[in-house]
């Protein structure tokens, strides 16, 4: 069971959070200019990274805020927690 460090509320158990999957997917602003392939790529295709994965969580049963997490999908170690809008953190290898 994961323990996540909400940037606003502190360390809490996984059960308080909802996971929003892959982060840093930017919604295209000019979607009308995109072809079906590019649009489909945005809507459906995912990196599904094995190893360090940048993802979104929401403190659903707490402050309600979304935030970003860098987590290993192999060990489940939390490598970084950062706010929405922050750049992906530099992580040691």
């Amino acid at each position: 069971m994961l323990q996540l460090d909400c940037p606003w509320c502190g360390s809490r158990s996984e059960e308080e959070f909802s996971c929003g999957g892959e982060g840093h997917i930017v919604r295209p602003t000019k979607s009308e200019d995109m072809d079906d392939a590019a649009w489909g790529d945005y809507v459906f295709m995912r990196s599904n990274q094995k190893g360090v994965f940048f993802e979104r969580w929401r403190h659903a049963l707490g402050c309600g805020r979304w935030f970003n997490v860098a987590r290993s999908t192999i060990s489940h170690d939390i490598l970084a927690v950062y706010r929405v809008g922050d750049a992906k953190p530099e992580l040691p290898e």
């Binding site: 069971m1 323990q3 909802s18 979607s31 649009w39 809507v43 979104r56 929401r58 979304w66 939390i78």
Partner: protein, 997 residues
């Protein structure tokens, strides 16, 4: 009633002054407080306790603790009956009832034992090779196999006991209350750290409970008693006996099962039976000890063949002498101490047989004094006797240990064979934590690799062999763990205990199987023999996981605690590779089986899921409403009057709405308050239609799409102010919509100034509709101008309704003149009563969800989740005109993909069955021809189907391929092998008309 023939006169930790009575297989016996069921059975001379899984061989107790594979019983009766309980884990209580398992008709005479005679036909995996012809017979074969398999019988009734859950945090969790764990807890506790010390047993002490070692010149248990007293006094330390840590999860979360009342006949009224703990520990110390392994030799499963250390425990802890004349057979030193204890208890040691070339010299003087003959470089080559050991043969093996040389050897009478195949550190939890285990050739076992979580392993679990090491290293680990958790000791630590002198250890001789004739069991509970493992290897099942699955070794209720290493050794030999190359099977949680009831806890029955009720719920109940479950809500479905069935009640409610006045509790609709300078822009992005032009005071219907372009929610949103909106959603979709809005506003468009708040439960809502709705409102709101000009359709106003502060929306879902009256939730019942009273003169009629569905379908309003299923676009619903071309919104681009542009997509139509009385079932399929014979592709399906008293007939809505262009066609509706014709129409059967405006 039989006397306790095998009870020693003195010694042990039992209370002889008190006698407990219990029954096993109908026979009444006696034991004492402090006994386990296992020790009491042995005290009464019971040898045979069960039948084995596959061959139904007679089995007796082999171990004294968690390693026991054979002694599984069905404990208690009725709703409290529990199958597959280890007799060694059951603390004896007065009136205990247990029965043996997997035998018929009786334990002594079991017809299933025929399997043992036929066993040459049943090698490992035999079932994969037969029962295939004829194919039609497999269900018959299978039924027989299923009856033969299984262990105990489940209870036939529901469980009367309750279970609790507890969540805890601590600085240091110490698992195991033996010498190492106690030392660790003591030292960790001295720093002020919050310490939790748990042990499976009822008493702390671990190995000291059974092996008679000394500390500080006194019996080890004296030291234990002092430490436990000390720990109990400390406020920062909590001791949890009878508690098993069952699994080790990510981020140092551990699950434990506390057996609160299992040592009683039934829990006290205020007690749960068991309590499931979830612990988050900053640091974990595993002091989980080690389990003694059996030796693999022919007929090593005969009752009377027992683990040496366990026999020692039965003597020292329970005052029970399991036999009179024993042969001790070992490959390591630990059995020497056991032999001495046996001898002291009056058991004649016929021989101590050691597989090694030389005996450990340190022990020899004591053995000499006790008159025990030590036979080195010898092996037990045969075990004789069927329902009990009667004698063994002791012979010589070749150097490799693969063959008996010079005959089976000396015949020695005995009723007890005590064996020891070495010790396996209990590292299940460590392995679950993600830490790798490394093979240690010298000790012949796996030891901890580098930890991947905040965990330490101490004591015999970590490979510490001497009691002194356990004490010293345990204390160190406790101190360090507390330091790492941020606690430091001030002043001196506790006094360091000194263990009694022990002879120097000699290395064990790992000999994974002893040659001989007969079944040599590796996994006793699953009836897997050394020959089975070799067969698997021969047949190409080379991975240890394949061997496990093919032979079922290690898959019993003990998960191979005592058998895994032996199996590994035998497989490695068969494959001619080193043990680390074979690797070990995964230790799947839990370490010990966990009761389903404990995992479920209190949240079953009425607490399974919260029930949501509206403030007017009790009125609905008092007025005979039938309820429909919608998500967690209980909504009035219809209000039958005496003598009415559902259809007649719904007809009456529908007619009332169209002819006079009807009222519905609409509280459950989702309500979201959206406020902020950019609220209108935000709605523009999440709805398909435009919102900037909506005036304050106005309402608008909106459709929400996922990015895949499919409709997922709809509802009316009102503009309360320039920067303030009141959004309504479907009842079932409210939570998801709020999540959706939050997700976009917080993560994609944080620059937009707005916030969303759920207001569903803040408002009670009564919807009144029908031709008399305005008159009713006029009666209750004398100051309002309710004219269509002053209060038009799709607008809202604040004011007083029946003296209650209210917000009234001129919106509805029935196509009739409607007012949706919102008041603060607490005023809901008052509003409802006022409306019902004032409405009497119009014969106001409450209606439920079913009438609401009929009314909305008559006028062609869709229900999200009924007309839509996640594959439907606005255009498919005939709502394409709502979709703005001027702006971007979520899902827009998906609407112009090749598949979503197709003209022959399923599209919403009306359906009028030719037989006007036939209400076709919802979900029925639309087909072109009249023949429903499979296989064929349908053209769509019925989404809604009702009887309309207004139309005087049945009607339906459906999604039909290319349906927009097919009005006037006849299609067929197929269900249950029939197909009925129906006319395709526009999806609207009544015109709301001017009255609604």
């Amino acid at each position: 009633m039989s006397p306790q023939t095998h009870r020693l006169d003195t010694g042990g930790r039992i209370e002889r002054s008190e006698t407990l009575s219990f029954r096993f297989d109908g026979q009444t016996m006696q034991g004492h407080p402090g006994d386990t069921l296992a020790s009491a059975l042995l005290a009464n001379g019971v040898r045979l306790v069960g039948r084995s899984f596959k061959y139904h061989r007679p089995r007796g107790l082999m171990a004294a603790g968690g390693g026991e594979p054979n002694g599984l019983v069905r404990l208690r009766t009725g709703g409290r009956a529990e199958p597959n309980v280890r007799a060694t884990d059951v603390l004896l209580y007065d009136g205990l009832v247990a029965e043996s398992q997997n035998r018929w008709p009786s334990l002594n005479f079991d017809l299933g034992a025929l399997n043992d005679r036929l066993s040459p036909l049943f090698p490992a995996g035999f079932y994969y090779k037969t029962f295939m012809w004829p194919a039609s017979m497999w269900p018959t074969y299978e039924a027989v196999i299923r009856r033969m398999a299984g262990l105990g019988r489940a209870a036939a009734e529901a469980d009367p006991d309750r279970y609790e859950k507890q969540y805890a945090h601590c600085d240091v969790l110490v698992v195991g209350g033996g010498p190492a764990g106690l030392a660790a807890a003591l030292w960790a506790g001295r720093t002020g750290a919050r310490v939790l010390l748990v042990d499976e047993g009822a008493e702390f002490g671990g190995a000291l409970l059974g092996n008679g070692q000394t500390i500080d010149g006194a019996p080890g248990m004296d030291w234990v008693a002092a430490i436990v007293k000390n720990l109990n006094k400390a406020e920062n330390i909590r001791l949890l006996p009878r508690t098993t840590v069952t699994s080790y999860h990510d981020h140092n979360a551990l699950t434990m099962l506390e057996r609160v009342a299992d040592h009683l006949a039934a829990p006290e009224p205020d007690q749960p039976r068991q309590r499931l703990w979830q612990v988050r520990a900053k640091q974990v110390i595993l002091a989980t000890g080690a389990l003694e392994r059996p030796l693999v030799l022919a007929n090593n499963d005969r009752p009377g063949v027992m683990l040496a250390g366990s026999v020692q425990t039965y003597i020292n802890r329970y005052g029970v002498r399991p036999g009179q004349r024993a042969v001790v057979f070992t490959n390591n030193d630990s059995a020497y101490r056991a032999a001495l204890d046996l001898s002291k208890a009056g058991i004649k040691i016929a021989a101590l047989v050691d597989l090694r070339q030389t005996a450990p010299l340190g022990w020899l003087p004591d053995l000499d004094d006790a008159g025990i003959e030590v036979m080195v470089d010898r092996a037990v080559t045969a075990v004789e006797g069927r329902q009990s050991v009667t004698s063994v043969r002791i012979g010589k093996l070749n150097d490799a240990g693969t063959e008996v040389i010079g005959g089976l050897g000396r015949h020695v009478d005995c009723d007890l064979l005590c064996f020891s195949g070495g010790w396996t550190p209990s590292l299940h939890l460590l392995s679950q934590s993600g830490t790798r285990l490394l093979w240690d050739e010298g000790l012949g076992c796996f030891l901890p690799g580098p930890a991947t979580q905040a965990v330490r392993v101490v004591g015999t679990a970590g490979g510490d062999c001497s009691l002194q090491d356990c004490l010293t290293l345990g204390a160190e680990a406790g101190n360090q763990a507390a330091n790492d958790a941020g606690h430091r000791r001030r002043g001196r630590g506790p006094r360091k205990p000194v263990a009694g002198e022990e002879p120097t250890l000699s290395p064990p001789r790992p000999l994974w199987s002893i040659p001989g004739k007969g079944k040599a069991f590796v996994d006793f509970q699953s009836d897997v023999t050394a020959a089975d493992l070799r067969l698997a290897a021969r047949e190409g099942y080379r991975s240890i996981e394949h061997v496990k699955r093919y032979t079922t070794t290690g898959m019993g209720t003990d998960q191979g605690r005592t058998s895994n290493i032996n199996a590994l050794g035998i497989v490695a030999e068969a494959l001619d590779v080193a043990i680390p190359e074979v690797g070990h099977t995964t230790f799947r949680p839990p370490f010990s089986p966990v009761t389903f009831g404990a995992l479920a806890g209190r949240r079953i029955g009425t607490l399974l899921d919260p029930v949501r009720r509206t403030p007017m719920h009790s009125w609905h109940q008092a007025n005979g409403a039938a309820f429909e479950l919608v998500g967690q809500w209980h909504r009035p479905y219809y209000y039958p009057r005496p003598g009415e069935d559902m259809d007649r009640a719904v007809d009456r409610e529908v007619l009332a709405a169209r002819s006079s006045l009807a009222i519905m509790d609409a509280t459950t609709l989702g309500k979201i308050d959206i406020r902020g300078a950019d609220a209108a822009e935000f709605l523009n992005r999440v709805y398909v239609n435009g919102w900037k032009g909506l005036k304050v005071g106005g309402c608008r219907y909106g459709l929400m799409l996922g990015e895949d372009g499919m409709v997922f929610d709809d509802g009316v949103t009102a503009r309360l102010d320039e920067d303030h909106f009141h959004m309504t959603t479907t009842t079932g979709g409210a939570a998801h919509v709020l999540d959706w809005l939050e997700s976009w506003s917080q993560t994609e468009w944080p620059e937009l100034q707005l916030y969303c708040t759920s207001a569903t439960e803040q408002w009670a809502v009564a919807a009144v509709c029908g031709p008399n709705a305005r008159r009713l409102m006029a009666d209750l709101c004398p100051d309002w101008d309710l004219s269509p000009e002053a209060f038009p359709h799709m607008s809202w106003q604040d004011g007083e309704v029946a003296g209650l502060s209210a917000r009234v929306f001129r919106i509805g879902f029935t196509g009739e003149l409607s007012f949706e009256i919102n008041v603060p939730a607490g005023h809901g019942p008052a509003l409802w009563h006022a409306l019902m009273t004032a409405g009497e003169k119009y014969a106001i009629t409450p209606f439920g969800t079913e009438a609401m569905h009929v009314l909305r379908a008559e006028v062609g309003f869709i229900m999200v989740g009924q007309e839509t299923d996640g594959t439907v676009t606005p255009h498919d619903l005939g709502l394409g005109r709502m979709v703005s071309s001027k702006k971007d919104f979520l899902g827009k681009r998906s609407l112009s993909r090749s598949d979503t542009m197709r003209q022959d997509r399923p599209q919403l139509v009306g359906l009028l069955p030719e037989d006007p009385q036939l209400r076709v079932p919802e979900g029925a399929q639309l087909i072109a021809g009249a023949d429903p014979a499979p296989p064929q592709r349908g053209q769509g399906h019925v989404t809604s189907s009702y009887r309309s008293p207004n139309l005087g007939r049945t009607f339906a809505l459906g999604l039909l391929q290319g349906g927009h262009e097919r009005h006037g066609e006849t299609i067929h509706i197929a269900f249950d092998g029939s197909a009925v014709p129906a006319a395709v129409t526009a999806p609207r059967f009544l015109d709301p008309g001017e009255a609604a405006k």
